[in-house]
Assembly symmetry: C2
């Protein structure tokens, strides 16, 4: 088996942040932006890293590490876990990719460049993932943290439910 079991949605034509768009352009744009930012920041968008980012942009949904690994093997790269995890670490570290903790999976960032601690909406039927900007440290949580003296460094905000497409079908 090629470890593709989990993230395969019912309908494999990947939904996209819950709305249609010109996908090729979108991928190219994002890839270009990443390249630019890397050049600017002195980061190295190497072949593996670039390939992983491209895959995630292409899919436009959450992929597990081992699904990514399969694709890397198919593309002629190394196929051992650390290869994928290192590339993912780099991409997450630099904001090109986000990890969806709920799914142990990864999605390309939808707001390249923008400063953000993102929030996600995850459809439990089709695995579509939409990214929303969010201001987490503002709300009740921020207040609670300040109250007890907890210093927030990073937040995970993920909503699970049913996306509009799946609601419609039912």
């Amino acid at each position: 088996m090629t470890s593709e079991t989990h993230p395969i949605p019912v309908d494999a034509t990947a939904p996209v942040g819950f709305h249609k768009h010109d996908h090729d352009t979108c991928v190219q744009t994002a890839l270009g932006a990443a390249e630019a930012q890397c050049k600017q920041d002195g980061l190295r968008l190497t072949p593996v890293r670039r390939k992983v980012l491209e895959m995630l942009l292409q899919e436009h949904r959450a992929l597990g590490a081992y699904a990514i690994l399969d694709r890397l093997r198919d593309a002629g790269f190394g196929s051992q876990p650390p290869v994928a995890y290192r590339a993912l670490d780099f991409l997450v570290q630099n904001g090109f990719v986000h990890k969806i903790e709920r799914l142990n999976a990864f999605v390309a960032c939808s707001h390249p460049g923008a400063e953000h601690s993102p929030a996600f909406m995850i459809c439990r039927k089709c695995d579509a993932v939409a990214e929303a900007k969010s201001a987490p440290a503002k709300g009740i949580l921020g207040a609670a943290a300040r109250a007890v003296g907890f210093e927030i460094e990073r937040t995970v905000v993920e909503a699970e439910g049913i996306c509009p497409d799946c609601t419609e079908k039912a």
Copy 2:
């Protein structure tokens, strides 16, 4: 090895929602409350389930499934993964325990009985976990969801950072 590696904090005297309190009483109270609620709702708080809940209340921090498993074995229960996972499923399902997605680990609920979709503060130094009440569907995320027609069923809100105790020590 007994799989205790990950969640062992620097200081094993488990921090508690970031403040001291009468622990035995706290455990007994929570256990009693759980028992009462189960009786009321026709749920069966069996020995394994009770033991797991007691362990988590006792620890007052996030424990991985295999750490729980170790303790179950020591207590004379079955020691295979499904034993722990089934008990955890029951406890999570009925609100006695929460899963911390970021850690793939579990904590006892701090607000027994209360209706809540909880938010957590996780110290990345000592693994202490504090639970805050939260009103997730209210904030920006709720607005975004309504805007696109996404139906939220459950939310994960986890803040990672440094707890007051660890800040103090530094």
